[in-house]
């Protein structure tokens, strides 16, 4: 028997077994689908968060807020000094009235908060764009420390600090996803293994006959391995479909809201989807192999 003939036979027998034991197979397929859906969700969220971080890294800046007593001359002088910094990609001086106008423009519903105030409630500031190649250098930290010590400066807001915190959060999301997905995948492997063992038990008479007439172990076990593989593939496909449906739903119901834009701006790539399905198939195969290894046919 050629390998192609064997594979065709395995798939045919596995399909028949799947259909014959539809209910138990469905449990196995759903278990693996749920675990992959969860893992895929975390993958989607961390991928999009990471994308946002990369995008934000391109727009990183340092904002130097001046004290209320700082004059417009101080603002101009400090802006000129900032422009000479080697790490500065661009400098914009924002006076206190400009800050108020910008606030009213950006947050029209909160405009009342700054409307009635006699003095400008928002401080003047200097927004300094960061050159990406300089962002990681320790010299930048020293220079920002020097800026913080200047008498005209109230505070320095460094985008890199919260971006670093966000990156930590992404790592946590990934870790939690991996652990939860791993636990559920383990459960799915166990379930598939149990289903395969049950199928093998139901076929024990046939297996005995096949062994009697001279079938090799590969030929006898092949259909069961293929069945595990198919269950995993179906689970992976189901998880991919579910993930895409959830993604579309999130977008259709709240395209402008923060969560979809942060966690689900883009769907998984074809390669990532293929990997998800492949993990399902691998888990199914592993379940079949481990169950038949633990309990010889």
């Amino acid at each position: 028997m050629t390998l192609l003939q064997a594979v065709r036979y395995f798939l045919r027998e596995a399909t028949v077994n799947l259909l014959r034991g539809f209910r138990v197979s469905l449990v196995a397929v759903l278990t693996i689908a749920v675990s992959l859906l969860l893992g895929g969700s975390f993958l989607l969220a961390s991928r999009n968060l990471a994308g946002s971080v990369t995008r934000w890294r391109g727009e990183m800046r340092v904002v130097v807020y001046l004290k209320p007593e700082a004059t417009s001359q101080d603002l101009a002088r400090l802006a000129a000094e900032a422009a000479r910094e080697p790490w500065a990609a661009g400098v914009e001086a924002v006076s206190a009235p400009e800050a108020r106008t910008r606030f009213q423009h950006v947050f029209p519903t909160l405009a009342d908060l700054v409307e009635g105030a006699q003095d400008d409630p928002l401080p003047a500031s200097i927004e300094i764009g960061l050159r990406r190649d300089q962002a990681a250098r320790s010299g930048l930290d020293r220079r920002l420390a020097a800026w913080r010590r200047r008498p005209e400066v109230a505070m320095v807001d460094d985008d890199r600090e919260w971006l670093a915190q966000l990156e930590t959060a992404i790592s946590v999301v990934r870790g939690v996803g991996l652990v939860l997905g791993g636990i559920l995948l383990g459960a799915a492997i166990f379930t598939i293994g149990s289903v395969i063992r049950l199928t093998a038990y139901l076929h024990h008479e046939e297996i005995a006959v096949m062994r009697l007439v001279g079938a090799t172990e590969f030929y006898i076990r092949g259909p069961f391995y293929a069945e595990g593989l198919l269950q995993g593939l179906l689970g992976g496909a189901l998880a991919s479909g579910g993930l895409y449906t959830a993604f579309r739903l999130a977008h259709s119901r709240g395209a402008a809201s923060l969560l979809p834009s942060l966690f689900a701006a883009e769907f998984l790539t074809a390669r990532q989807l293929a990997a998800l399905v492949a993990v399902g198939a691998l888990a199914g195969l592993l379940g079949a192999v481990s169950s038949l290894r633990r309990e010889p046919l």
Binding site: A208, V209, M210, L212, T216
Partner: protein, 278 residues
């Protein structure tokens, strides 16, 4: 063809199934294996197709040491041996055709070849017209014939049968026995385990008798009422092939052998009944 040299087999718990059993069955012979229940008949058969391994001694099947065959090679040994059991071991949810074509499928035969082989095997047992039936739609005798067809589908060199008539009434048992004799007539070596002494007495042939794991007798027996078996001319083996001499005449046990239990092992290593028949 089949050689046992001082073969012993003990089961866990110390029970001795076979004790220092030695014999030789030549190609083309028809041999009865007899003895009371628990004598070791089934164990002996299982040793031949390597369902069991001996604790001591050597077993040669077609010159191959069965005990030392690596596990992955066992299937290739089994493809040369047809096995028939008392309980038929047919798969109820498979048709007769599917039951018979397990081995052709394993060997990668296409559906046309499978049909051809199944038809040939089923025709030999007279069931070619029941190819699409399910086992439970058949009588006990027909089920056993299907099991025989499955064992014969690959034209094995050896056919072993463990109490193949044990579940059948006397008429059906006679019919099944006739099939085994026909198979032997075509040159297949047949080893048939039974505790039915009447059948053995009637048919005759070489008889190996076991008792509590020991081979207590190996003798030729002239049948009191041997069935007349002949092959259709188209199926007669070519000149010189095993069974060729027997194919032209009714099969009767040779009269010049010692009969009765305890007779010397005169036939060991000699051509089988099919070859030696007048």
């Amino acid at each position: 063809m089949i050689q046992f040299f001082h073969v012993s087999k003990r089961y866990p718990g110390g029970q001795t199934a076979l004790d220092q059993v030695s014999f030789e069955i030549a190609r083309g012979q028809f041999v009865f294996l007899t003895g009371p229940s628990g004598a070791g008949k089934t164990t002996l058969l299982r040793l031949i197709f390597r369902e069991e391994t001996p604790d001591d001694g050597q077993i040669l099947v077609n010159g191959r040491n069965v005990a030392s065959i690596p596990p992955r090679k066992i299937p290739y040994l089994r493809r040369t041996i047809g096995v028939v059991f008392q309980d038929f071991r047919l798969i109820p949810r498979k048709t007769v055709f599917e039951n018979v074509t397990y081995l052709p499928r394993v060997l990668g035969c296409d559906s046309k070849q499978q049909k051809q082989l199944a038809y040939q095997a089923l025709r030999r047992v007279g069931l070619a017209h029941r190819m699409n039936a399910f086992p439970l739609e058949l009588s006990g005798g027909e089920q056993q014939r299907v099991a025989i067809a499955r064992a014969l589908v690959n034209e094995p060199e050896i056919l072993i049968a463990d109490e193949p008539t044990g579940n059948l009434d006397p008429d059906l048992a006679r019919e099944i026995l006739r099939l085994f004799l026909e198979v032997n007539l075509r040159g297949t070596t047949v080893l048939l385990a039974t505790h039915d002494r009447d059948t053995i007495q009637r048919v005759g042939r070489r008889v190996l008798a076991l008792d509590r794991g020991r081979l207590v007798s190996d003798h030729e027996l002239a049948g009191s009422d041997p069935p007349e078996i002949s092959l259709p001319p188209a199926e007669a083996p070519p000149p010189g092939a095993p069974g060729e001499a027997a194919s032209t005449a009714a099969l009767e046990a040779p009269a010049d052998f010692d009969v009765g239990p305890g007779a010397p092992t005169a036939s060991a290593g000699k051509p089988g009944a099919a070859e030696g028949a007048p």
